[in-house]
C-alpha cells in the first residue's frame, strides 16, 4: 500500500510533460506590396536570442534567391518578378511591373542551407481614392473636423480594414498638446503617427459604396502641413498587426502570457502583405 501511494505521488508530481522549449533561430521576411506601385524592397533576416542585441547587419540573410510570382484566378503563374540583393538582407527588383489590385501574388524565398523554401501568398486590395475632403485647413480641435469621403476598396469576403497614417510635412510649427509632453529624443518618432486597425463598418456607408470618415484629432502630432494616408490592408497584414499589437499586453490576456505573432508565411516569421493607399494633405493651424 505504501509503495502504491508513493508511486501515485511520484507520478502525479512528475508527469507534467509541458516543459519549456529552447530558443530556435528563425528566418524573418517582410514585404508589403502597394497596389499601383512598383514592387517594394523585401527584407530577409534572422531572429536572435533574447539576451543578445539585435544588429541588422549581423542578422541580415545574404544570397537568398527571391521571386514574386503573379498568379491568375486559378492559381497558375502569370509573371515572375525576380529580386536581387542590393544591401545586406535587402532585396529589390528592377522590373518595372506594377502591383495589380485584386490580384494574388506568391512569394518564394530560397536561402542557402535552409531546410526548405519560404513561401507566402497575398491578395492585393482594390485601389480607392479620396473623393472629397470637407476642408484642407482647419484649426486644431475647432468646431469642425476633417471629413473625407473614400471610394470603396473591395476585398473579397469581408469588409475593408484600414490603417491610417499621418505624416507631418512641416515640423517647424511644433507639437499639438497631446504630444507636447514627449521627450525631445522621441519627438522625431511622432513625425509619423499610425492608427491601429480600423474596420470600415465603423463609418457611415453611402449608397454608392463610399464611406464618410471623420479624422480624429488625436492622430495629429504636429501643427502645419500633414499628409493623411488611408491604407486598406490584406489578410496577412491584418493578422500580423493585430497579433503584434497585443503580444506583450493589453486586451484580455493575463500579464506574462505571450503568444507568437501570426505570420502567414510558411517557414519564416514576418509577413508578405499588401495594401492599397490613398492620401490627402491638410493643414492644421492653432
Amino acid at each position: 500500500m505504501r509503495s502504491f501511494l508513493f508511486l501515485i505521488t511520484l507520478l502525479l508530481t512528475a508527469c507534467d510533460t509541458y516543459t519549456q522549449d529552447g530558443y530556435r533561430e528563425q528566418y524573418v521576411v517582410a514585404a508589403t506590396l502597394v497596389a499601383g506601385e512598383t514592387f517594394p524592397v523585401i527584407t530577409c533576416s534572422r531572429t536572435v536570442p533574447i539576451n543578445q542585441p539585435y544588429k541588422s547587419e549581423e542578422t541580415a540573410v545574404r544570397d537568398a534567391v527571391i521571386r514574386v510570382i503573379e498568379l491568375d484566378a486559378t492559381g497558375n503563374p502569370v509573371d515572375v518578378i525576380p529580386f536581387t540583393e542590393r544591401n545586406p538582407g535587402s532585396y529589390s527588383t528592377t522590373d518595372p511591373a506594377v502591383v495589380k489590385p485584386l490580384t494574388r501574388y506568391r512569394l518564394e524565398v530560397d536561402i542557402p542551407g535552409a531546410a526548405r523554401r519560404i513561401t507566402g501568398t497575398t491578395f492585393v486590395p482594390d485601389t480607392f481614392r479620396v473623393r472629397t475632403l470637407n476642408n484642407t485647413t482647419l484649426p486644431y480641435q475647432g468646431s469642425d473636423q476633417f471629413r473625407a469621403n473614400l471610394s470603396a476598396s473591395e476585398y473579397p469576403g469581408r469588409q475593408t480594414f484600414y490603417v491610417i497614417t499621418t505624416t507631418a510635412l512641416d515640423t517647424t510649427l511644433g507639437l499639438t498638446p497631446l504630444y507636447a509632453g514627449l521627450p525631445r529624443d522621441q519627438r522625431s518618432d511622432a513625425v509619423v503617427t499610425t492608427s491601429g486597425i480600423i474596420n470600415a463598418e465603423n463609418y457611415v456607408a453611402l449608397a454608392d459604396g463610399s464611406i464618410e470618415l471623420k479624422y480624429p484629432w488625436l492622430a495629429l502630432a504636429y501643427y502645419g502641413r500633414n499628409r493623411i494616408t488611408f491604407n486598406a490592408i490584406d489578410d496577412n497584414l491584418y493578422d500580423f498587426i493585430r497579433s503584434a499589437s497585443v503580444q506583450l499586453g493589453g486586451s484580455t490576456t493575463s500579464p506574462g502570457e505571450i503568444e507568437n505573432v501570426i505570420s502567414r508565411l510558411d517557414g519564416a516569421l514576418g509577413y508578405f502583405g499588401s495594401v492599397a493607399r490613398a492620401s490627402t494633405e491638410v493643414t492644421v493651424i492653432r
Binding site: D16, Y18, Q20, D21, G22, Y23, E25, Q26, V28, A30, T32, T43, T47, V48, P49, I50, Q52, P53, Y54, Y140, F161, T176, P177, L178, Y179, G181, V192, T194, I197, N199, A200, E201, N202, Y203, K214, P216, W217, L218, N231, L237, F240, I241, R242, S243, A244, S245, Q247, L248, S251, T252, S254, P255, G256, E257, I258, E259, N260, V261, I262, V275
Partner: protein, 758 residues
C-alpha cells in the same frame, strides 16, 4: 484521462431521469411508516435574533440530523415517538440540548436561540462533542463573517480575499480579489447576494469585493459538485446573505480605515427588523495632498456601497424580506496634457422574498430579483472622445419548495425564470462604432431528492433543466452525490454533476473595471462540463476537523472574446470569440482547529488546470497564469488576553505560469519608420515564476468607547517581511538587447482601523 470526457453533449435522459423518478415516486410509499413524528423550527442568534444558516440539529446518540436551510429553518421527520434529545449547534455558539417527548405522528414546532460563545481564557470543555460537528456537504466551505473582519487584509477587511484563503481557491495576484476556484476563472463562479446575481462584485479596480463585511451574515462557497438547486455556471457558487437586522435591540457600527469608512445600523421594529450599511472611500484628502506635489494623481476617486434589508414577520408562517444593494466606483484620471480618463461602473441589486411554511412539512420560498451592472469608461484623448457603455439587466423570479415527507426523503424542487439584457454601445470621436443589444429569456427547473436508506447513508439525486432563448438552447444537468458515515466522526463523500454556462466574461486579470458580459447566440454554443468529486471528512479529536477532497472537472465548448480581435465593428457575432476546452484536477486538504485560545486552519491544495484554444499556442493545452501546483494557507487566531487578540496568515504557493521569451527580432513597419519588435516564444506559459509567500499579521485591541459602546483598534501589517513577490516580467525594448524587469506585488503595508460598536 482528460480525453475520455471530451465528447459531444450526450442526452442523459435515458440513463438518469427514469431512475430518479423511481426514487421520487416509489420510495416514499415504501418507506413511509406509521407512528413517526417530526420536529421543525427556526434556529436563531439569541443576542440578535438573526437566523443561523446551516446550523446543525442532531438527535443525540445517533447520526440522524439535518441543517437549517438558507432561511434558518430546519425539519427532522420520521422520528420515533417517545423521548428524544436534540442537540442544536453552530460554530461560535454554545450548543443547546433539548429533551422532548413526542407523541405518535406529532409535528412539533421548536424554535431555538443559540448564545454566542463568551470568551474564556481556558479552553471550553464540551460534552457530547460528537454533536458539535458541523454537517458539511461535499465541495462546500463556509467563512464566518467574524473571521473576515479579523483576518489581516490589504487596506480593509474583504469577503473575497478571505475566501481566497480556502483550499481550492486561488488569487490571481495581490491586486485582484477575483476568485479562481478549482481551475476555473472568475466568470465560472456564480455570485449571489440574497439570491440575486451580482455581475461584477469588485471595487477599486478589482482590488477588493463589493461585499461589506458589516452587512453580511453568511458566506458559503460551493467549490464544486454543487447541487441541482443552483445552476448557470460551470464551476462554483458563492452564496452570500445580508444580515436580517437585529431583532432584539438597535445596534450599530462605525469604522474608520485608511481606504474607506463604514457605518451600519440595525434593529427591530414592530413588524420585524431592518439593516442599513454604508461604506465609502475616504481617499479624497490623501489624493488632494498628493496632487500638490505629484503628477498623474486622480482628480477624483470614490467608491460607495449601500446595503439594506427590511424584514416583515407577517405571522408565524409567513415572512417577507426586501433587500437592496447599490455600489459604484467613479474615477477621474488625468494621464497627461490633453488626456483625461473617466471610469464609472457599479452594480444595483434588489430582491423581494416571501417564505412560507405550509404545515410543518413544506417550506417554500418565492423571490423576485433585479440586478443591474453598468460599466462606462470614457477617455478624452487629444480632443477625441472614446466611449463605451456596457449594461447588464437581469430580472427574474425564483420559487423553491422544500418538503421532508418522512425520515428517509427530503425533496426539493424549484423554478428560476428571467430575462437578461446585455447592451454594449461604443463610440469613437462621437461616431457610433458598436451598438449591440442581446436579450434572452432564461428558465431553469430542478428537482432533487435526498434519500437516506439508513442512518449512515445519504444519496442526493437531482436534475436541472435549463433553457436559454438566445441561440435556442435546452440543456439537462444531472447531479448526484453520496455520503456514507461508517462512524459518527467520519464521512465519505462522492459527487458527480454536469454544469452548463450560457455567459462569458471579457475581463483582464490586472484590472476588472472594464468587465463585460456576453452570451451564447447563433453559432455560439453554451459551455458545459462534468465534475467528479471524492471526499473524506473526519473529526479525529475534539475541536479538530479534517477534510480531504479530490476533484476532476472538464470544460467543453468554452467561448471567450478573441484577445487578438482589434475591432468588433461589422464582425459576425460568432467570430468575436475563440473556442476551446479545458480541464482541472486536484486534491485539497483542510485541517481546522475550531476551539480554544488558538484556533484557525491550514489549507493545502495540489492542483493543475489547463486550457486549449484553436489557433492559439499551436492548438496545445497550456496552464493559465493563475495555475499553481501547490498552495498552502495557514490562518491562526490567538487570544492574547481579555483585550488583545492576534491574527496571522501565512501563504505559500509555487510559482504561477508565465511565458518565457526566447528571442526577438525587428520587422519593418510598412506604416511608420519604427520597426515592429516582436518577441519569439516557445510554449505559452511553460515557465514558472518564483514561489510566492507572504506573512500578514494583525493585532486587535478591544475596549470601550466613552462608555457608550465597545471599540476595536486594529493594526495590521501586510507582507510583514516585505517579500517582493513577482507579478510578471516586463520588457524594455528601448534597450538592445531588451531588458527584463520583474514587476512586484505588494510591499510591506501597514494598515490601521478603528471600529465602534454601539
Amino acid at each position: 484521462m482528460a480525453l475520455l470526457f471530451h465528447k459531444p453533449y450526450p442526452n442523459p435522459l435515458k440513463n438518469v431521469l427514469l431512475p430518479l423518478f423511481s426514487f421520487l415516486f416509489l420510495m416514499p410509499a415504501v418507506l413511509m411508516s406509521q407512528n413517526r413524528a417530526s420536529v421543525s423550527g427556526y434556529v436563531t442568534d439569541r443576542s440578535t435574533g438573526e437566523t443561523l444558516l446551516f446550523a446543525t440539529v442532531v438527535v443525540q446518540g445517533t447520526t440522524t440530523g439535518t441543517t437549517t436551510n438558507t432561511s434558518g429553518f430546519y425539519r427532522l421527520a420520521g422520528l420515533p415517538a417517545g423521548n428524544i434529545t436534540l442537540v442544536f449547534s453552530y460554530v461560535g455558539y454554545e450548543p443547546v440540548v433539548r429533551t422532548i417527548t413526542l407523541a405518535p405522528d406529532e409535528s412539533r414546532r421548536i424554535d431555538i436561540a443559540l448564545t454566542p460563545e463568551d470568551f474564556r481564557l481556558e479552553a471550553i470543555v464540551v460534552e457530547a462533542d460528537a454533536e458539535r460537528e458541523e454537517v458539511r456537504n461535499i465541495g462546500t466551505a463556509q467563512i464566518q463573517t467574524r473571521l473576515i473582519k479579523e483576518l489581516p487584509s490589504v487596506l480593509q477587511a474583504d469577503v473575497f480575499r478571505s475566501v481566497q484563503l480556502l483550499p481550492g481557491v486561488k488569487a490571481a495576484s495581490d491586486f485582484s480579489s477575483g476568485l479562481y476556484v478549482r481551475g476555473g476563472g472568475p466568470d465560472q463562479t456564480l455570485i449571489l447576494l440574497d439570491r440575486t446575481t451580482v455581475y461584477n462584485p469588485s471595487h477599486f479596480f478589482g482590488f477588493f469585493s463589493t461585499f461589506n463585511p458589516d452587512a453580511i451574515k453568511d458566506v458559503r462557497l460551493y467549490k464544486g459538485g454543487y447541487p441541482a438547486e443552483y445552476g448557470g455556471r460551470l464551476g462554483s457558487v458563492l452564496d452570500i446573505y445580508n444580515k436580517d437586522g437585529n431583532r432584539v435591540e438597535r445596534k450599530g457600527v462605525v469604522s474608520l480605515g485608511m481606504l474607506s469608512s463604514r457605518a451600519m445600523v440595525e434593529g427591530p421594529y414592530a413588524h420585524g427588523s431592518y439593516m442599513l450599511a454604508i461604506r465609502r472611500s475616504t481617499l479624497e484628502p490623501l489624493l488632494y495632498a498628493l496632487r500638490q506635489s505629484t503628477d498623474n494623481i486622480p482628480d477624483g476617486f470614490y467608491f460607495v456601497d449601500v446595503n439594506g434589508k427590511l424584514n416583515v414577520d407577517v405571522d408565524e408562517r409567513n415572512k417577507l424580506s426586501f433587500s437592496f444593494y447599490g455600489g459604484e466606483d467613479n474615477v477621474d484620471f488625468p494621464f497627461g496634457d490633453d488626456v483625461d480618463f473617466n471610469l464609472y461602473y457599479g452594480n444595483r441589486t434588489a430582491s423581494a422574498n416571501w417564505t412560507r411554511l405550509f404545515g410543518n412539512d413544506v417550506f417554500t420560498n418565492v423571490t423576485l430579483t433585479g440586478s443591474r451592472y453598468f460599466n462606462e469608461p470614457r477617455i478624452f484623448l487629444g480632443g477625441t472622445p472614446i466611449e463605451r457603455r456596457n449594461n447588464v439587466f437581469d430580472y427574474s423570479m425564483k420559487s423553491d419548495v422544500d418538503w421532508t415527507p418522512n425520515q428517509s426523503h427530503n425533496l426539493k424542487a424549484g423554478l428560476w425564470a428571467g430575462i437578461i439584457t446585455l447592451t454594449l454601445d461604443g463610440s469613437f470621436d462621437d461616431n457610433p462604432t458598436t451598438s449591440s443589444r442581446i436579450q434572452s429569456l432564461y428558465a431553469s427547473a430542478y428537482v432533487q431528492d435526498t434519500w437516506s436508506p439508513d442512518s449512515k447513508t445519504k444519496i442526493t439525486g437531482g436534475l436541472r433543466l435549463n433553457s436559454f432563448s438566445e441561440g435556442n438552447f435546452l440543456r439537462l444537468e444531472p447531479r448526484i452525490s453520496l455520503e456514507h458515515a461508517p462512524q459518527p466522526s467520519l464521512r465519505l463523500q462522492a459527487a458527480y454533476g454536469r454544469y452548463v454556462q450560457f455567459l462569458t466574461l471579457i475581463t483582464n486579470e490586472a484590472f476588472s473595471g472594464f468587465d463585460t458580459w456576453l452570451t451564447t447566440g447563433e453559432g455560439v454554443k453554451p459551455s458545459w462540463g462534468d465534475q467528479f468529486v471524492l471526499g473524506v471528512k473526519s473529526y479525529p479529536v475534539q475541536g479538530y476537523n479534517l477534510e480531504i477532497e479530490g476533484f476532476y472537472r472538464t470544460m467543453n465548448d468554452l467561448f471567450e472574446l478573441d484577445p487578438r480581435l482589434p475591432d468588433e465593428a461589422g464582425v459576425a457575432y460568432k467570430d468575436l470569440f475563440r473556442y476551446g476546452e479545458g480541464f482541472a484536477y486536484g486534491v485539497e486538504v483542510l485541517l481546522q482547529k475550531t476551539e480554544g485560545r488558538l484556533n484557525g486552519f491550514v489549507g493545502y491544495t495540489w492542483g493543475s488546470t489547463r486550457r486549449k484554444f484553436a489557433t492559439f499556442n499551436a492548438d496545445r493545452f497550456y496552464p493559465p497564469k493563475y495555475d499553481r501546483i501547490h498552495d498552502v494557507n495557514v490562518v491562526a487566531n490567538y487570544r492574547l488576553s481579555r483585550r488583545w487578540k492576534a491574527t496571522g496568515v501565512f501563504s505559500y504557493a509555487t510559482g504561477q505560469a508565465f511565458t518565457e521569451v526566447l528571442g526577438h527580432t525587428e520587422v519593418p513597419n510598412p506604416f511608420a519608420p519604427q520597426p515592429y519588435q516582436p518577441v519569439v516564444v516557445g510554449r505559452v506559459n511553460a515557465s514558472r515564476l518564483p514561489a510566492y509567500h507572504r506573512l500578514d499579521i494583525g493585532f486587535t485591541r478591544e475596549g470601550t468607547f466613552f462608555g457608550r459602546g465597545t471599540s476595536e483598534f486594529q493594526i495590521q501589517i501586510i507582507n510583514a517581511y516585505s517579500r517582493r513577490n513577482i507579478w510578471f516580467y516586463n520588457f524594455d525594448f528601448d534597450r538592445n538587447p531588451p531588458t527584463k524587469a520583474a514587476v512586484p506585488l505588494l510591499p510591506l503595508l501597514p494598515t490601521l482601523s478603528y471600529t465602534v460598536y454601539f
